[in-house]
């Protein structure tokens, strides 16, 4: 029986396992924190920036990614506050620029988060930047990918290890490295397609990921 420790979530006491990510612990107990890049068996990643909560240390509340917090006895957590909403709104707005997304739930989630964050402060502030500061440098064939890395991670874990991130920074993209020999070719297991939160990998990885390091 795994050791349980007590934490305080929104002023309610809660018993959770020690070796679990906070995001998962909360989700298991019915507290839904928005997240797009977390997967229980692939672990925490920290890319999407949506699962923000606040934890208290030395009387100071600090925003943290819930997927990266390991519970300690007596840890205090807040799952809602104006700051949390604002920060989630920033992340959601930035992710929306990488859209439109095939799965409409994703689009809806992000728009809701933006609106929630905007309502808690003057509307004029985020209005200008919601349109983006003009240019959207992300090329059309990469729109719809959140760069959450779930496909890369699952291909590495159970697949043929054909997917990889290419480049870095704002030009980051996912590429498919098609092997020459039959043994290293994509096995068409479709794990990537199933795990992709936005539906980008349609109909398969080969057609979705056009980025190549060698032509």
């Amino acid at each position: 029986m795994e050791e349980l420790i007590e934490i305080i979530v929104d002023r309610h006491n809660m018993l959770v396992e020690r070796n679990i990510f906070l995001l998962q612990a909360l989700s298991d107990r019915g507290i839904a924190i928005p997240s797009l890049c977390f997967n229980a068996s692939l672990g925490a990643y920290g890319s999407c920036g949506l699962c923000i909560v606040e934890t208290c240390k030395d009387d100071v509340w600090l925003p943290r990614h819930a997927c990266l917090v390991r519970p300690e006895a007596g840890l205090q957590i807040r799952t809602a506050s104006p700051r949390i909403q604002r920060l989630r709104a920033h992340a959601a707005r930035l992710l929306l620029k990488r859209g439109p997304f095939l799965k409409k739930e994703v689009e809806a989630l992000l728009l809701t988060l933006v609106k929630e964050g905007t309502d808690s402060m003057e509307p004029s502030r985020l209005a200008g930047s919601l349109e983006g500061s003009g240019e959207n440098h992300i090329s059309l064939d990469k729109r719809g990918c959140l760069l959450c890395g779930l496909c890369v991670r699952i291909c590495r874990k159970i697949g043929k290890c054909q997917l990889t991130f290419l480049g870095r920074g704002k030009s980051l993209r996912v590429g498919l490295v098609s092997g020459d020999s039959a043994t290293v070719a994509c096995g068409s297991c479709r794990a990537c397609r199933h795990i992709c939160p936005t539906g980008f990998i349609t109909p398969d990885a080969r057609q979705a990921f056009t980025a190549r390091l060698y032509r």
Binding site: R156, C161, T164, L166, V177, G179
Partner: protein, 152 residues
């Protein structure tokens, strides 16, 4: 399998066989990292090929295609940009049929943008191999390429 990677591998002491060390050697010696050698390296180092694609694209140093025989660097500093550097670039892309790559398909010229050469009073400026050419107009591009071809 050329055995080239094996050779490099054996020459290195055991604690210096990190992939970056070998990639640096390939880049210095050949001017780029070819896919064949990358596959050999993945095999020797015991890592998936895709991992090396990710690693190579992460850094600034590595090229994945050989640079052209000649190199034209267009200054994209503010003065030159305002004086039509992008027009020169567009004309070069057109003439050389660059189409997404920075090197012409026949491997003749590599076109790059650089930032402020410091010769702003001579804008727009291009550096053809090591020679700085000033006040270039886009209609001069075909003549420029012609001269390069005649050079040999």
């Amino acid at each position: 399998m050329s055995g080239y990677i094996d050779q490099l591998w054996e020459q290195l002491p055991a604690n210096e066989r990190q992939v970056v060390n070998i990639l640096n050697k390939l880049q210095t010696e050949n001017g780029f990292v070819s896919r064949d050698l990358l596959i050999e390296l993945a095999d020797r180092a015991g890592v998936p090929e895709s991992q090396l694609h990710g690693l190579v694209s992460f850094f600034n140093t590595y090229r994945t295609s050989p640079a052209g025989k000649h190199r034209i660097r267009i200054c994209y500093g503010t003065a030159c940009y305002a004086q039509g550097a992008s027009l020169i670039n567009d004309r070069l892309v057109e003439e050389l049929k660059l189409d997404g790559s920075d090197t012409s398909p026949d491997g003749f010229v590599t076109v790059e943008q650089v930032y402020c050469v410091g010769a702003c009073s001579q804008a727009p400026v291009i550096i053809q191999d090591e020679e700085i050419k000033n006040r270039i107009k886009s209609y001069q591009v075909p003549l420029l390429l012609d001269d390069l071809r005649k050079k040999v």
